[in-house]
């Protein structure tokens, strides 16, 4: 079968999945939750999504087909949502005045920055290097997975520091991870 036919079938599958999800969503929120009529529709939507994914993978190979399924699915869903956009008259906000918030300490801001940026990075690179050098995998796989782990772990550290008003737990955890991972890497490399 030509790739054009695979593509059309897979696109139809994605669209069907989105439409069934929408019907399930409508029923679920009319019923007050994902119960009753929504469940079989959600199951059918899931089955269509998997079917569409399988078609993309069959047409283009799994490596290319899976990302293609996710990307086209996202576009189809958003395109569908755009067709159902509710347009409302503009509503101006009432002018309000509130007292200014108390000024935040710049030192706390700088400490937060240092915790997320420096200690978070030290912890992430520590774990990444430990994995890259000591994980029981082939050299190239260790290196690549270790390199991918660094930004993932660092972003988690940034997220935690940005969301938690406290700084002590993050400081202790990041310093501890950095120290322990560096010690483990050095100890096992001798």
């Amino acid at each position: 079968m030509s790739s054009g036919i695979w593509t059309l079938l897979a696109l139809a599958g994605s669209l069907g999945g989105v439409l069934l999800s929408w019907k399930a969503w409508q029923n679920a929120w009319q019923d007050g939750g994902p119960t009753g009529r929504a469940r079989p529709l959600m199951a059918a939507a899931g089955a269509l999504a998997v079917f569409s994914l399988a078609l993309w993978a069959a047409g283009y190979g799994a490596e290319i087909g899976i990302p293609l399924a996710l990307e086209t699915g996202a576009l189809i869903a958003f395109g569908f949502i755009l067709t159902r956009m509710e347009v409302r008259p503009l509503r101006e906000m009432r002018a309000r005045t509130a007292p200014p918030l108390p000024a935040r300490s710049r030192w706390i801001g700088a400490a937060r920055f240092a915790t997320a940026g420096v200690l978070g990075f030290a912890a992430a690179i520590g774990l990444g290097v430990l994995f890259a050098t000591r994980a029981p995998l082939g050299e190239q796989t260790r290196l690549i997975l270790g390199a991918l782990a660094v930004p993932s772990l660092w972003s988690a550290a940034i997220a935690w520091t940005a969301c938690d008003r406290r700084l002590l737990p993050q400081t202790l955890v990041f310093s501890g991870i950095a120290a322990v991972s560096a010690a483990a890497t050095l100890a096992t490399s001798r």
Binding site: A74, I81, R91, A98, G138, T141, A147
Partner: protein, 483 residues
């Protein structure tokens, strides 16, 4: 069902907002330039529609052109490394890039008869690349900074997802109009949630691409006793040696024969002669791998044509296969023009998320009685001003060789100052400026370079439509509300 406490959501919203306020402007520029660069091949054709084209090369053609490229690079004194990029279906242009190892370089186009001719420069595309890859900072620092912003973008995506209490309840709801905050929040959340896998992939791969050099340095220090070459060789294969004694050119014909035997039917996409015409030289040849996400397989040859190493991007270790996927996943180069258009649309979606995120924060400040008027104007100047500046620079570069990076910073500074002076007129003025800049660019392009290539014409039409939409933004909104 897992109950998420309001306190947790508040913390996530706070953290998400903090990241956005501190870093949103740079993330916006990176997302905007990244979306533009998904169409780099098409924009290269658009910028220089008259550049020489070449298609279907036989092995003999490749051998002859590579030999000419090496000789030309030697004459120009830049033959330390010579790269020959083959034409593709999307960009039927063949280019040669050569560098002297001390920072100097030259490049050429190859015409239909296989001769090297002066390269048709694409300064606008290169400017957008410099902005996206380095934020115009010199050396590797800019690249690391871009990698750090990729990491921050990932943190922002995660906190944004965790902050979303009504992820299912609002999954299909998009309201336009009403209060400014509600309209922006719906847009922000719908695009953010439905395209989440794309956003995470692009942020992670961008972060790895930016930070790769820094991670390699640290890894080399720890795991390879400071030997960066050894760390790089683990992934990129043996490096050319430093033996600079003169040597005859490498036997490219023999290498292509080996490839034809080992990988029948495969197309060569790039030839790189490293430390060319020295005793230490070696040749890296990339061949197309159409059904693989990596898109290419890399083979490394000794000058006599002996195969030294094969990367294994398509059939090697899990690590090498993942390594081969990182760049195509980031730029969407694994599925032809249609996928590039999908990437451009999803990238534009990510850019809209960043812009609407700033709008939500500013509207909330206003609702709470603490309007940030100056910040509102600066944000408007950035959101609408940056694409307008890109269009103005492109129009200027079509007619005169201006310094693109200096012009960009000067215009950015000017738009910020103008926005502060424009007061409440800033949003409408900024949208009109963008519309006018896009129309001006399309008209300048057609007037100067004519109507020739269908891709260039399509891009000009798209610019014109987008420009008119930006100019008619207010009327369009009123029309939509009347319906």
């Amino acid at each position: 069902m897992i109950a998420i406490s309001k306190q947790f959501t508040r913390a996530m919203v706070g953290g998400h907002g903090l990241i956005g306020v501190l870093f949103g402007a740079v993330i916006y520029v990176l997302c905007l330039t990244g979306s533009v660069l998904t169409l780099v091949d098409q924009l290269t054709i658009w910028e220089r529609p008259g550049a020489p084209e070449i298609s279907h090369l036989s092995a003999d053609d490749i051998v002859a052109i590579t030999g000419r490229a090496l000789a030309e690079a030697q004459r120009a004194g830049v033959a330390h490394d010579v790269f020959v990029h083959m034409p593709t279906d999307e960009l039927p242009r063949m280019t040669v890039f050569a560098r002297d190892g001390k920072g100097g370089h030259r490049d050429w186009n190859v015409d239909a008869s296989g001769r090297l001719v002066a390269r048709e420069e694409t300064p606008w595309v290169e400017f957008v690349q410099v902005l996206h890859f380095n934020l115009t900072a010199p050396g590797p620092i800019g690249r690391y900074v871009v990698g750090i912003f990729g990491t921050i973008l990932m943190a922002s995506i995660v906190t944004g997802l965790l902050a979303h209490r009504r992820i299912l309840r609002d999954a299909f709801r998009l309201r336009w109009g009403g209060t400014r905050r509600l309209a922006n929040a719906d847009l922000h959340n719908r695009v953010g949630v439905w395209a989440l896998p794309f956003h995470l992939i692009v942020a992670l791969t961008g972060s790895v691409l930016g930070l790769a050099g820094l991670i390699t340095i640290i890894l080399a220090l720890v795991a390879y006793k400071g030997d960066q070459g050894k760390a790089i060789a683990a992934l990129l294969g043996p490096q050319a040696s430093e033996d600079a004694r003169a040597a005859p050119p490498p036997d490219i014909g023999s290498m292509l024969s080996t490839i034809a035997q080992r990988e029948p039917g495969s197309e060569v996409t790039q030839i790189a002669i490293e430390h060319a015409a020295t005793m230490g030289q070696q040749v890296r040849i990339a061949i197309a791998a159409p059904r693989h996400l990596a898109r290419n397989e890399a083979l490394l040859f000794s000058p006599d044509g002996t195969l030294k190493w094969r990367a294994g991007f398509t059939d090697g270790t899990a690590g090498m296969r993942i390594f081969g996927m990182i760049t195509p996943l980031h730029y969407g180069t694994y599925g032809g023009v249609v996928l590039k258009l999908i990437y451009a649309a999803l990238g534009a979606g990510l850019t809209v998320i960043v812009a609407s995120g700033g709008n939500i924060w500013l509207a909330r400040q206003r609702e709470q009685g603490r309007p940030r008027s100056r910040l509102e104007r600066l944000w408007v100047a950035l959101i609408w001003g940056q694409p307008a500046i890109f269009a103005i620079i492109a129009a200027l570069l079509i007619v005169a060789p201006i310094p693109a990076v200096a012009s960009y910073w000067a215009l950015t500074f000017a738009t910020l100052v103008l926005a502060l002076r424009a007061g409440d007129r800033a949003p409408a003025a900024a949208r009109k400026a963008l519309g006018a800049a896009l129309v001006l660019l399309a008209v300048t392009h057609v007037a100067t370079l004519g109507i020739s290539d269908p891709i260039a014409v399509t891009i000009d039409l798209a610019l014109l439509v987008l420009g008119v939409l930006a100019l008619a933004n207010g009327a369009l909104g009123r029309w939509l509300r009347r319906r």
